[in-house]
Amino acid sequence: MELGLNQSQPTVMHIDLNSCFAMVEQQANPLLRHKPVAVTNRLTPGATIIAASYEAKACGIGVGTRASDARVLAPDLVVLETDPPKYTHTYHTFFNILRGYSPDAYMKSIDEGAIDFSSMRLIEHRSLPEIGQEIKARLKDSLGEWMTCNVGVAPNRFLAKLAAGLNKPDGLNVIDHRNLRGVYAFLGLRDLPGINYRYERRLNMENILNPLDFLDADLTTLSKRVFKSINGYHWYRRLRGWEADDVKFDIKTVGKQYVLHEFTNDLEKLAPTVMKLCEMMGRRLRGKGLCAYGLFVGCLLEDHSFWHQRQKFTTRLYATSLLYKQAMRLLNQWPGLVIKNLSLSCYDLAPADNRQPALFETYDTKQWRLSETMDKINNRYGEFSVVPARMANMENFVANKIPFGSTRYFGNS
């Protein structure tokens, strides 16, 4: 099967906030503008940078650089701790701007959104580049003059994202069938969204060395030899500007991960933290109207190995107390080494509204009601206004950090 380039008018727009967290911090604090700025989840030398300003990027600092290494690259680097309410407000403002243009606007991550204009008559009277410029102006009006974004316009989501990645920061680019080959000629394989080192190696093994080779490869090579799956067909379409990415994903897991302040192999010392993580995870689960049938516990150990255990249950996991009880049961099987990092997550999610227990299920109404009542009090008076006794007198708290890249918890993406 031969498929030509998609020659229809570009109708997909991808908008990407430039270095979102760092840019928001520079917007908020004008004294930080034109300076290298980095944002981490914690202000410790070993913390990993999750956002860097363009001035910091020019010094070689990027996502994943350790703060201590970054300070060597840029001694005048300003490192800030994440401020989730600021970024949450930015996300909602950004999304509201996009939603004003189409009901088919959606957020791909906290700092990337996309709009499919194909069902809109708006574009009969205005070009997408014009709308893109308007979105840039509205972003500045709503959030501040320092805020910039990159806009990409193309006939499908993949090419729109690729277009948004060109000429950063504050660029606006259109890719269509007329300039597609010209754009590919200037890029490497890993410049294509979705192509990582692993895929690049697989492509290289079939003598596909650059995006033009990738575009010219036939469907059989891609589906039978490179990707060995339907992914080959999806790439074949995607590269040519046809849509292959209009799949929506439901929430599959709810979880929490935490790097311990004090590494320990004493489960008694760890118990309050486990309770706190279960309470936070439980609140997220209940907030979404869900319960879980599976629980996963994982630990990063002092020897850098990762121990984990998972189990499916016949009893629905909903109340914090039950999540805690099962998490501790699983954690009790850990090999005894010092724990540095703890991960908990629920899976096999289901709606929680059917309270009728299964035939052999033990169902504790009191615990369900207690958790729900505690949630109501915490919603009214603030997080951890009332806590399980296990968490009493906890000195360190597990701060709510923005889940990197995820928008599942914002509820309207």
Partner: protein
């Protein structure tokens, strides 16, 4: 460098009909008057059902993070930054 302050302060603010509707203009803290030249960012946040409005402003020497509690109608100076590492 960011210094945590967390002290109540007196603030005079301008109320406008469009754009940024509430902009702090002058703050009195430790018997000293600070005049803000720019609003960097404003965002609402909540503590339970309490609405808090967070303003980040500068007088071109320092940047101030002010929090307005919409329930108690009190202003609190949360932190100061000099823009240095």
């Amino acid at each position: 460098m960011v210094s945590q302050i967390n002290q109540p302060v007196e603030v005079m603010a301008a109320c406008k009909l469009s754009g940024n509707k509430l902009i702090p203009r002058i703050m009195t803290w430790n018997n000293r008057i600070y005049k803000f030249t720019r609003l960097g960012f404003h965002h609402p946040t909540t503590q339970g059902k309490r609405m808090l409005h967070v303003f980040t402003l500068t007088d071109e020497n320092l940047t101030f993070r002010l929090e307005f509690d919409a329930e108690s109608l009190l202003w609190t100076l949360r932190e100061i930054s000099d823009g240095a590492p």
